[in-house]
């Protein structure tokens, strides 16, 4: 599913990622660990297609419409409601039975009651739940999750634990986290930076 050879990325003169080799088969779960600034986020953004490599090769065998990306920002418009945000992405991803799928995800992540509230009124934890709804909306086959547990309260984190365990057999994962033990049981491969 993902193959990298000598993968590198520079920002101006700064070399953030250098010589990464990687093979992740379909259905694999790559756990990426390392200190802040070690290149985890850059690797995940490369895999998601948000950055292009400046060195080496990267092949990702998943079309853009089947990639789900959760980054440091929730990628939702603060002035729009939760429902409007998911409807926007649902239309762009041409999600079949969009309304039903949005309703199901909002229910599952405990946001149904807040569906008509603007995202700007959400707490950080609620925004992260909404971001997870956005990430899973189009039923991705490749999930790229950058610190997915950040900002989630214990209930939200437990919800995500269950969600990851449920999705594990159906999707390929690239996950970076400062809390590797949380997903260690799911991981098939590990990549440690720095």
């Amino acid at each position: 599913m993902i193959a990298a050879r000598g993968l590198g990325r520079r920002f101006g003169e700064k070399r953030v990622l250098d010589g990464v080799d990687l093979d992740l088969p379909r259905g694999g779960f790559l756990l990426v660990t390392g200190p802040n600034g070690s290149g985890k986020t850059t690797l995940l953004r490369l895999v998601a297609g948000l950055l292009v490599p400046t060195a080496g090769e990267l092949r990702v065998d998943a079309p853009r419409e089947r990639v789900g990306f959760l980054g440091h920002e929730p990628l939702v418009y603060r002035e729009l409601t939760a429902l409007e945000n998911l409807d926007l992405y649902g239309r762009l991803y041409r999600v079949a039975e969009r309304r039903e799928r949005i309703g199901m995800l909002l229910e599952r992540f405990g946001l149904w009651e807040a569906r008509n509230r603007r995202a700007e009124t959400f707490s950080r934890g609620m925004l992260q739940r909404l971001a997870l709804c956005r990430t899973l909306l189009h039923d991705p086959e490749l999930l790229v999750l950058d610190e997915p547990f950040s900002a989630l309260d214990e209930e939200g984190a437990a919800l995500l634990d269950r969600e990851l365990a449920e999705l594990r057999p159906q999707a390929t994962f690239v996950v970076s986290t400062h809390d590797p033990e949380r997903v260690a049981a799911l991981a098939s491969d590990r990549l440690a930076f720095g």
Binding site: A48, G49, L50, L51, V52, P63, R64, E65, V67, F69, G71, H72, E73, P74, L75, V76, Y77, R78, E79, L80, E84, L88, Y89, R91, L92, Y93, R94, R118, R134
Partner: protein, 213 residues
């Protein structure tokens, strides 16, 4: 093609909805263009020519458009929302076209007020001027949107956009003023239409490269 246009419609509707909620761009553009025309009204001597007055109209339009363009990618910049749009499987030029249409809509709203205000303060507006403004709007928004996307990636974005945009707006001002004051405006209108076509194609084709890191 239908899917492409559907994406453009979804994205443009999102921009209009954001503006209706935040009301951050159109009121500022309206206030700016009316204030600029009032200032020009008092700054120009009463016996100044129609040519000078028309020049002022075009200065007001270009700077009002610049104000709108500066705001065009604010929502996408502040929380990296451009990532969300780039991740979506739509053609990236659809993002440009939708943003161009929404900026165009905001500019037209400002001009619906600005043109009567100009007629009130200076002189009447003829059909050639209105046609010139309409054609100029297309060029301004097509070029300006791609430059706004370029500027938003840089650090000195507020400085960068005027530096990139104003030189490219010079032909628009030349064509617009020519259409407003020349006896035979068709030549200038044709020039504006040609500018629109060339720069719209360049902007459409280059947007993906501008937003790819």
């Amino acid at each position: 093609m239908n899917a492409y246009l559907a994406d453009v419609a979804v994205l443009a509707r999102k921009d209009l909805r954001l503006e209706l909620r935040a009301r951050s761009t159109v009121p500022a553009m309206l206030l700016f263009v009316v204030a600029a025309l009032v200032v020009f009204h008092f700054a120009l001597p009463s016996d100044s020519s129609e040519l000078a007055a028309n020049g002022m109209l075009w200065v007001a339009i270009v700077f009002t458009a610049l104000l709108g363009l500066t705001r065009a990618f604010v929502a996408e910049r502040e929380q990296r929302l451009i990532d969300g749009l780039l991740l979506a499987p739509c053609d990236r030029s659809a993002i440009w076209l939708a943003k161009t249409l929404s900026v165009l809509g905001f500019l037209v709203i400002a001009e619906v007020i600005a043109l009567p205000a100009f007629a009130l303060f200076f002189s009447g507006i003829d059909g050639a001027t209105v046609a010139g403004v309409a054609l100029a709007d297309l060029g301004i928004c097509a070029v300006g949107t791609v430059l706004a996307a370029m500027a938003v990636a840089g650090r000195a974005r507020e400085l960068l956009l005027p530096l990139l945009f104003l030189p490219l707006a010079i032909p628009i001002v030349v064509g617009g003023v020519g259409a407003s004051v020349a006896g035979e405006p068709a030549r200038y209108l044709g020039f504006l239409a040609l500018y629109d076509a060339v720069f719209a194609i360049i902007s459409w084709a280059s947007f993906e490269y501008v937003v790819t890191e």
